[in-house]
């Protein structure tokens, strides 16, 4: 991993649930399974369905990004009262131009990725659109870390 540790909850914040999910690069056969597992967990925890949809869409896009571009990653799920946070840190090539990567339609996808229905340059903007909190940091040759969260009335 790139040494970028997930943030510790602030004092007074109680983490109701947390779990880490490994994702392997190029593992197209399982692309979507982490998002599906997290969705089941969020349902069981009684998170509002609108929030689950936003998070699941982001998790699926983020998972596919790892499969398409990175070597491996860990998706860390943290459920707090009124907020679900995701920290996805990958080991991979990193992103040279973050502004460009955030532009809708910009993509470095290969034909195989497009055959899977991805790689249209919508992933990162889509995650941002579905999140109340979003940040991305990347170091070329090391990896990329995404942090996003969806908030709701507890």
């Amino acid at each position: 991993m790139n040494g970028d540790a997930p943030p510790l909850p602030a004092p007074g914040e109680e983490v109701l649930y947390s779990e880490s999910f490994p994702i392997r690069g190029n593992d197209f056969e399982h692309g979507g399974s982490v998002a599906a597992r997290v969705k089941v967990i969020l349902k069981q925890l009684g998170i509002p369905s609108d929030s689950i949809r936003h998070l699941s869409i982001s998790n699926f896009e983020a998972e596919m990004n790892v499969i398409m571009y990175a070597d491996e990653a860990t998706l860390e799920l943290q459920v707090l009262s009124g907020e679900v946070r995701v920290i996805l840190a990958d080991r991979g090539p990193g992103i040279v131009d973050l502004d460009l990567a955030m532009q809708e339609g910009y993509s470095t996808a290969t034909p195989e990725m497009r055959q899977r229905g991805f790689g249209a340059g919508l992933g990162l903007p889509n995650i941002k659109r579905n999140s109340d909190v979003f940040s991305i940091t990347s170091t070329v040759g090391v990896g990329t870390t995404l942090r996003y969260a969806v908030q709701f009335e507890a």
């Binding site: 056969e29 979507g32 998002a35 599906a36 969705k39 949809r53 229905g117 249209a120 919508l122 889509n126």
Partner: protein, 119 residues
């Protein structure tokens, strides 16, 4: 205007790949047609029928995470067993028609279904 998935299947002469038991229960009022799952994830709204020529595992995952009512595969596309299994686990009906994307969309639009684009 809403249609039960059973009516959709009848209108388009669909083969029911999985989810036969849900067809009389599930109703749709709108569809989203795309081969690009990122488009579906970005722009569709929950409860829509996905119309696609992409019969991959990612199509079934997309229907699951985006809370879609079901998936209609066009041009005679048939999903692999792993895709069917995933859809079955998540109670997502899969239909398959030999009609093209254009004709399937045209018939459903003509029957009164709308576009499931998220505002």
């Amino acid at each position: 205007m809403t249609m039960r998935l059973r009516e959709v299947a009848d209108l388009l002469g669909c083969q029911v790949v999985t989810g036969e038991e849900h067809l009389d229960r599930l109703e749709v009022d709108a569809c989203f047609a795309a081969d690009l799952m990122s488009d579906v994830l970005a722009f569709s709204r929950a409860g829509a029928l996905l119309i696609t020529g992409l019969a991959s595992l990612q199509a079934a995952h997309t229907a699951d995470v985006a809370d879609l009512a079901g998936v209609l595969f066009v041009s005679g596309k048939r999903p692999a067993p792993a895709v069917v299994e995933l859809a079955c686990e998540n109670s997502i009906p899969l239909l398959s028609t030999t009609l093209s994307m254009f004709e399937a969309c045209g018939r459903l639009f003509g029957a009164g279904l709308g576009s499931a684009v998220r505002r």
